[in-house]
């Protein structure tokens, strides 16, 4: 049976349908934004009502103050002048404050301890090894011998040591006028120039659209260095 043929028509055939996403609804009047704001407020109302109910059963502040005072008085504090009994003066065993010991380093290397003080104040019997640039004591694995090391480790090889000039290479040094912070509104004067062939531009602040921000919260740098 012959397939019937369609008669040719003078009207051009329509293109085949192709599925398309519906056009985006234009939120011309901010309706969706407004609805979101209302939703946030209504949620905040729920939270506040819950909090108002919970406040009913709260203890007064005096009870909290009592707890704090009890806690503070019950715990010792190494930074407080206290009235603890000690067998001897621990002046040169204080946390790195024993300058007199520098001159009497052999005493510092003696085993001595003060009761009631931090373990870090207990110095080892022997002096430290002065390994090139390790500058660490091998007397006890977890304790560094600071005062004797001061004398013997002062000449660590520069190339291996993490000293001030080690490892910084040729990095940019910023002139002192290069600071964080935005210039005063409304004008934006040109910023400092960095040595490393950088260029400066006044940034736009994320918070305030019309002018540069003056507050700390605008953390855009004045100079952006490469």
């Amino acid at each position: 049976m012959a397939t019937p043929t369609l008669r040719s028509s003078s009207v051009p055939s329509l293109p085949p349908p192709s599925p398309k996403s519906p056009p985006e609804y234009p939120d011309l009047y901010g309706k969706r934004r407004e609805a979101a704001r209302v939703h946030m407020l209504e949620r905040e109302i729920t939270f506040l009502e819950e909090e108002l109910k919970s406040v009913e059963g709260l203890q007064p502040a005096s009870r909290c103050c009592e707890e704090i005072a009890d806690y503070v008085m019950a715990n010792s504090d190494p930074l407080l002048p206290s009235t603890k009994k000690n067998r001897r003066s621990c002046r040169f065993w204080k946390w790195l404050c024993g300058m007199p010991c520098f001159n009497l380093s052999w005493i510092c290397c003696c085993c001595c301890c003060c009761e009631g003080l931090s373990l870090q104040l207990k110095l080892p019997r022997c002096c430290c090894d002065c390994k090139p640039c390790s500058c660490s004591c091998s007397c006890l694995p977890s304790i560094n011998c600071s005062l004797p090391k001061w004398r013997c480790c002062c000449s660590c090889p520069k190339s291996q040591c993490c000293k001030e000039s080690c490892g910084l290479g040729n990095c940019c040094t910023f002139p002192s006028s290069c600071n964080f912070g935005c210039p005063t509104c409304p004008s934006c004067p040109s910023c400092c120039s960095c040595k490393c062939t950088c260029t400066c531009s006044c940034p736009s602040c994320p918070k305030v659209s019309s002018c540069c921000c003056c507050t700390k919260s605008c953390w855009r740098p004045c100079c952006l260095c490469c």
Partner: protein, 377 residues
């Protein structure tokens, strides 16, 4: 519903919110029967007194060539990591002043740094909106630089603060200028939870500071430019457990009190405050009137291990030591010999509480410790 109807509903809801906030404020005021200072005085507590050489500067750590913005101590060894405008992290041996590592950062604009609990890695973040992790045991690259071992990307604003979850080298929390805090899984580099943000109830301005509860690591607090502090439970990211009002300016610094049930804040309004996390009470305001009516903002705070002392750094270079019980300034480290020459931007206590480290815009860090005699009975 038309836009006009929505606007009317918005206005009504805003009125209701204001009314509820007022009622809440009144109710809370009625529970504030005293503050810590009045209570301590009523108990006859004597103030802390420091002699002239009791708290002294023991060490000055020199090496940065730019302002120091952040520092953190290790949990066990006496090491400190510091972050500076010079684009470096430096890991110091605080006992010897030696620099153990000087890490060149991919982005020089760093704002925060933290040591992992084991001391094996450090984290930092800043204007690049990324928190970068460095494994201190990794071999250096051909230029001698320590490579980044993980980048935690996803914040839409600068990373202002970061802290590792205690006892977990694999998780840390960041605070950001995008108004959110994020709990990260460092192993995968992915966000575990986002606290606040566009569709959740959270801060309404930049987050500037965070502090994780050392007694219960599921709880942390955040301070923000919206002048509030918020308490979060890491299991519930959809909303803050509680919001703490009181400050009148950005909350730049926040730290848990050693007992884990209170926390302190430092703000642009020049005050430090102590809040109770279980009740929400504001228990004390630490503010000292200046003769010239200048109110320097607070940049950083830390508590001593007993909680008796509150250290607060200010933009004018002062570093007040507050007696937390009697709300009195007992010492100003900024006025001592060898003090910093510029703003104190950060400070932190060593793990054993025997030393305080301060970092400053004068590019130095200083270690302060007890240098006096302990009185004998």
């Amino acid at each position: 519903m038309s836009v006009t109807d929505l606007k009317d509903r918005h206005a009504a809801a805003a009125d209701t919110v204001n009314n509820l906030r007022h009622r809440l404020k009144q109710k809370r005021l009625s529970l504030l029967d005293t503050d810590i200072c009045e209570y301590a005085k009523s108990q006859g507590r004597a103030p802390v007194t420091f002699g002239p050489t009791d708290l002294v500067c023991c060490r000055t750590l020199q090496g940065h060539t730019g302002k120091v913005y952040s520092l953190d101590w290790t949990s066990e060894k006496s090491q400190i990591v510091s972050a500076s405008q010079d684009g470096r992290l430096i890991v110091w041996n605080a006992l010897t002043r030696q620099k153990i590592h000087a890490i060149k950062l991919p982005c020089a604009w760093v704002m925060t740094c933290a040591f992992s609990p084991t001391g094996q890695s450090v984290a930092c973040g800043g204007l690049d909106s990324v928190c970068s992790i460095f494994n201190l045991n990794s071999p250096t690259d051909k230029d001698g630089n320590l490579p980044v071992s993980r980048m935690l990307s996803g914040h839409k604003g600068y990373v202002s603060s970061c802290q590792y979850v205690p006892d977990e080298d694999t998780h840390l929390i960041t605070g950001s200028g995008d108004q959110t805090c994020v709990l990260w899984d460092i192993t995968t580099g992915l966000k575990t939870s986002v606290f606040g943000g566009e569709f959740q109830s959270g801060h309404t301005a930049d987050v500037l500071s965070i502090s994780i509860n050392g007694s219960n690591s599921r709880m942390f607090v955040s301070g923000s430019c919206d002048a509030t502090a918020r308490l979060w439970d890491t299991r519930v990211a959809s909303r803050a457990v509680r919001t703490f009002h009181g400050h009148e300016g950005d909350v730049n610094a926040i730290k848990f009190f050693p007992d884990g049930n209170r926390f302190g804040t430092g703000s642009d309004d020049g005050t430090c405050r102590l809040f109770d996390i279980r009740t929400g009470h504001e228990l004390q305001v630490y503010y000292r009137q200046h003769s010239d009516n200048d109110i320097p903002p607070v940049t950083s705070i830390a508590f001593s291990v007993s909680g008796r002392l509150l250290f607060a750094g200010y933009t004018n270079g002062d570093c007040y030591v507050w007696d937390t019980l009697l709300a009195k300034v007992v010492l100003d480290l900024g006025s001592l010999q060898d003090s910093h020459e510029d703003r104190i931007s950060c400070l932190g206590l060593s793990a054993d509480g025997s030393a305080l480290c301060t970092g400053s815009w004068d590019t130095n860090l200083k270690i302060w410790a007890f240098g006096g005699h302990r009185r004998t009975t």
